[in-house]
Symmetry: C2
Subunit: 242 residues, 2 copies
């Protein structure tokens, strides 16, 4: 199966969680909006959002074309890919638990994004900077530690003792933890420097994921879009000032 990923071509964003899973598994895929030519580019993505001929329209990217299926919502795409790419346990209990954790990642991502866009996604950051500072203060003091300490607890309590989030081997949830830690280090370096001593399991997991052969090749390639000021994770130093 050659998968087609549809996501904005200039940011990591939510699409990155899918890219990491496809890359780790060595899956055959095309990152449609980043290519040019017939049926490629951002126009191909817009088609699914705007054409009246699309019977099951996604609300927003990312979405994945897998044969006849068009699957939207990041966590839903990962739940679909997980068993096919060997990135989730086979038993239902393990799949439900992995998906539950991924949906908690989804919740966290909204809060991370809204630190720089607390009023409206349609406004520029500079138009909501005052509110952003206020929201970011509560985020870095309360919400960021709460989410990361929760995920650390999940690793701690994983009976397998192998340092993964779910069961005895790598899942898409571990890849998402890598991306969270990397992104939070970019966006909130001072906050993370203070906090990382309390989340040793997550830090070790980040390093283990980064060193996996397929992920290491991907991270060093041009396919990995650098962090920038257009995605979910943005570095505005004033948002870490008390």
């Amino acid at each position: 199966m050659r998968y087609e990923l549809y996501y904005w071509p200039s940011i990591q964003g939510r699409g990155e969680f899918i890219r990491l899973a496809l890359e780790e598994a060595g899956a055959e895929y095309v990152d449609v909006a980043r290519l040019s030519g017939r049926g490629r580019g951002v126009n191909a993505l817009q088609h699914f959002l705007e054409s009246h001929a699309v019977e099951l329209p996604p609300f927003a990217p990312p979405f994945l074309k897998a044969g006849e299926l068009v699957i939207g919502q990041t966590a839903n795409i990962l739940a679909y890919l997980g068993p096919r790419l060997g990135l989730v346990p086979k038993a239902e209990a393990g799949r439900l638990w992995a998906h539950q954790l991924q949906l908690t990642v989804t919740d966290f991502l909204v809060e991370i994004h809204d630190t720089h866009h607390p009023i409206a996604g349609s406004l520029y950051y500079r138009q909501q900077k005052t509110e952003a500072r206020r929201r970011a203060k509560h985020f870095t003091r309360n919400r960021l530690p709460k989410f990361l300490e929760y995920f650390e607890t999940v690793i701690d309590r994983n009976a397998s003792g192998r340092g993964f989030m779910v069961g005895r081997s790598l899942t898409y949830v571990d890849l998402s933890m890598f991306q969270l830690i990397a992104g939070l280090r970019y966006a909130f370096p001072e906050t993370m420097a203070k906090l990382e001593g309390e989340i040793p399991g997550l830090v070790a997991l980040h390093d283990e994921v980064a060193a996996r052969p397929n992920i290491a090749v991907y991270l060093a390639s041009k396919r990995r879009i650098p962090f920038n000021q257009y995605g979910i994770f943005r570095h505005y130093p004033e948002l870490e000032k008390p």
Copy 2:
């Protein structure tokens, strides 16, 4: 199977989407935190959030105990219950589509909630009233119509032509649409009064769900907690003023 639902006892909140599915299906369930006695009440809920003995701790309610499983995240619970309660198509494509829509409901709910809490959930509304007015203005003008018109499009394009969101019969997504319309009417009555002419399919679906025998009995019972100023949907008239 007797299901145990764990959710805050005084609000509809995210738990209501699960209650509606259980009620429609006539499933046997207990709403644990609303009862008293051994293993009941809010303490029983807190146990899962706080006890070190819980191996797979949920981040937040709602969660569902189904035999040995403890399943968290509203949309994940519905994805689990759907096939068991006959509230989702049997084929994988239909289940993925229903879940994708439910995750879009999840996204919408965060934005609805954040109209009254744009800065922090840990602060009172009165402490973020200025920011709430600004966020709510963008929400009622842009985001609310965008989400509802999207869901209307989904009904329109459903090839079965039966007025449901997914396929030819009722799914948990339809129950969630009922709850969204009811909640938005409570929270933003003026906005909804102006908009409802443009979403006839959703309005008809709301009425059809409300009239289903099990749902009608539920809505008239004490099990249905009234809308109030503590949940996701809150009525602050100033948030509709331009």
